[in-house]
């Protein structure tokens, strides 16, 4: 009973209101309130905020908040089968890539893997110091039996970063071309960055089977794609307009301008975006393990669930070491690229 009963009575909506169903769960607080109201006859003058629940207690025809959330769930489940038909083939390559990279980590012997990673580090950074850093991190991880987990995490992060770059670059380029597309894309990017990852894990669990790698792959990609998109857009927009005009005056087409002028000049910004994408993918590792991703996240979860302080801390530190290694390597390659591009500036 609240003041709203009087409001509905005075509006003459009693008939419409009582046609609605009133039933469903009551909370303990409502139970207590009912008891107190029966004893004291109080509450008829009270006016809580006119929320759906408050109005529903006065007029059962108005849906409660829980009915609204049920309706959203119902709506999603109705479109789910149609969505699955479209999304399953689109996302299957992601599953294959992830399975392939994890199989590679399982099959390749450790010394070959470490050598390959050191070679990659050298090729990217051309710095002895950073290659030594990467090598010592890998050896330290191997010493505490965390190497296999670390390699699995690296495989997942690299695969997802690759897809992020492949998907994010075109979106970023489109955003830099079209103001309208940018204003449509910005809220989506904001939402992807701030919506708690658990929240968009729920519909993903409904859409995809939990035993398939694409579930955590998509979760990681959705979270980590944002920096690449934003920084590509920023980098291209920051290219000096006069350079673009000069290219046009030389008779370059739009595509040639993009690939020969704008992208190379925007490369430092894009590489910063890739760096941040790798960091964000790494930070998603534990949440990915909640949906059965292998790697260091499994160890962190084990530490959390079993209250094993040491296990959780060491696995967490391993993730930090990986992050440091990736950060230094990508920053060194960025420095090399920007040094090269500076050489081209008149």
């Amino acid at each position: 009973m609240s003041g709203y009963n009087a409001v509905f009575e005075s509006l003459g909506l009693q008939g419409w209101c009582s046609a609605g169903t009133q039933g469903g769960p009551v909370t303990l607080a409502q139970l207590l309130a009912k008891a107190k109201a029966n004893q004291a006859g109080a509450g008829e003058g009270s006016l809580p905020f006119p929320s759906l629940d408050a109005l529903n207690s006065a007029c059962p025809a108005i849906p409660r908040t829980r009915d609204m959330t049920s309706a959203i769930e119902h709506g999603f489940l109705t479109v789910r089968d149609g969505l699955k038909v479209v999304l399953d083939p689109l996302t299957q390559p992601l599953s294959w890539l992830l399975e392939l990279s994890l199989k590679v980590v399982d099959l390749v012997p450790w010394w070959l893997m470490i050598l390959a990673l050191l070679a990659l580090t050298w090729w990217l950074s051309r710095s002895l110091r950073i290659t030594a850093l990467a090598g010592s991190i890998l050896l330290a991880l191997g010493l505490v039996d965390h190497l296999h987990y670390a390699l699995q995490t690296m495989a997942i992060v690299f695969t997802c970063t690759l897809i992020c770059i492949l998907a994010g670059l075109p979106i970023g380029i489109l955003m830099s071309r079209s103001e309208r597309f940018k204003s449509a894309a910005l809220p989506v990017l904001d939402m992807l960055q701030t919506l708690p990852s658990f929240v968009y894990l729920i519909p993903l669990i409904f859409l995809f089977s939990v035993t398939e790698p694409k579930l955590y792959g998509i979760a990681i990609i959705l979270y980590a794609i944002v920096p690449v998109v934003r920084l590509t857009d920023l980098g291209i927009r920051q290219v000096d307009g006069s350079v673009g005009e000069a290219a046009e005056s030389f008779g370059m087409s739009g595509w040639q301008r993009l690939t020969s002028v704008e992208l190379p000049l925007a490369l430092p910004s894009i590489m910063a975006g890739v760096n941040q994408t790798i960091m964000m993918a790494l930070s998603m590792v534990v949440i990915a393990s909640l949906v059965s991703a292998p790697g260091l996240g499994v160890l962190v979860l084990r530490g959390i669930n079993n209250l094993e302080l040491g296990v959780g801390l060491v696995a967490g530190l391993a993730i930090v070491l990986l992050a440091i290694a990736f950060d230094r390597v990508t920053k060194a390659s960025m420095a090399r690229l920007s040094a090269q591009s500076k050489g081209y500036n008149p």
């Binding site: 059965s292 084990r302 079993n306």
Partner: protein
């Protein structure tokens, strides 16, 4: 001046005596709220009875088995620990022996039922799928996959050891370790909705097993010693056995137990059969209710059950509130 001092003294004395009389009632009680469905319902019901029937100020502490026992061992709080599954945490027996906590009652009178389950429709299709031997002979009946629980679940340790003992992987059944209880539940639910095969670890009483009829796979006779070893992560020789029923206890800290005999009397009687709890949890699932609302449903619909638990005085107070 003297009048003012004596007045102040009288007011303070009155306040202190008021406080003391309130504390003699019951005072502050901390109770655990376990992070699974049946635990939350038990806590909601118990704390309502304590607050309205016994005048306690109840503080609910969201937690789970191992952190709650660790906290009790280190700090002597929380006062009441609901739904403790001792099979999961060896530390329970150590604490009981040291006298730091006192076993008060069996909150799930039938005990928890862990097991390896298959859907009922699968057994109707292939009757031999109700036995583990049948499943291992025909892994394609269950889709060649076993859904294991997440780490942190006691059942996971036992399952891992049983998988080794029965050599599940050598018989063509791939073990998929779920990262969280939610994905395990989601995989069961989505397989059941599309009538696909499913085989994995789960436990009762839960809303999921209340909602979807499942059959517990027959794994042979029960060997209590082997089961005890299987429950330990460092078991050197995992053995073939079926699952023992798990006792589920309400416990209290020693200090609280000794100072609140009336609450001990209440909590020792709070008990649900698996049928009762299963019905409550199935209602909760189908109505998308919170634990609080499920408790309200239980208190209004099953008056005779809880009225047997409370003292006469508390029963009178609660009758006035719950119609």
């Amino acid at each position: 001046m003297r009048l003012r001092v004596s007045l102040a003294g009288a007011v303070t004395a009155a306040l202190i005596s008021l406080n003391a009389s309130a504390q003699a009632d019951c005072g502050q009680v901390t109770i655990t709220e376990m992070n699974w469905a049946s635990g939350a319902v038990v806590t909601a019901v118990s704390s309502f009875l304590l607050e309205q029937g016994y005048g306690c100020q109840v503080k609910k502490v969201p937690t789970s088995t191992v952190p709650a026992l660790t906290s009790l061992a280190e700090t002597g709080k929380p006062d009441i620990l609901t739904e403790i599954w001792p099979a999961v945490a060896d530390v329970y027996f150590t604490l009981e022996k040291q006298g730091k906590l006192v076993r008060v009652g069996n909150v799930l009178s039938d005990g928890g039922q862990d097991g390896w389950w298959v859907p009922k429709y699968l057994v109707e299709q292939h009757p031999e799928a109700a036995t583990l031997a049948g499943i291992m002979a025909h892994p394609e009946w269950v889709g060649g996959q076993f859904n294991n629980g997440p780490s942190g679940w006691g059942g996971r340790v036992s399952s891992d050891n049983l998988i080794k003992a029965f050599e599940l992987e050598q018989h063509g059944i791939k073990v998929f370790n779920h990262g969280s209880g939610e994905t395990l539940a989601a995989s069961l639910a989505s397989a059941y909705e599309s009538k696909k095969p499913w085989f994995g670890y789960y436990w009762a009483p839960t809303g999921l097993l209340g909602k979807y009829p499942m059959v517990s796979v027959d794994m042979g006779p029960l060997d209590a010693d082997k089961a005890k070893c299987n429950a330990r992560i460092d078991c050197a020789t995992p053995g073939k056995t079926s699952w023992p029923t798990a006792t589920v206890l309400t416990t209290m800290s020693r200090a609280f137990h000794d100072s609140h005999p009336d609450i001990v009397a209440l909590m020792s009687k709070v008990s649900f059969t698996n049928t009762q709890m299963g019905e409550l949890l199935a209602w909760q699932e189908s109505n998308k209710a919170t634990a609080d609302e499920t408790a309200a449903y239980f208190l209004t619909q099953h008056k005779r059950v809880w009225q047997a638990w409370v003292s006469d005085e508390a029963g009178r107070k609660l009758d006035a509130i719950i119609q």
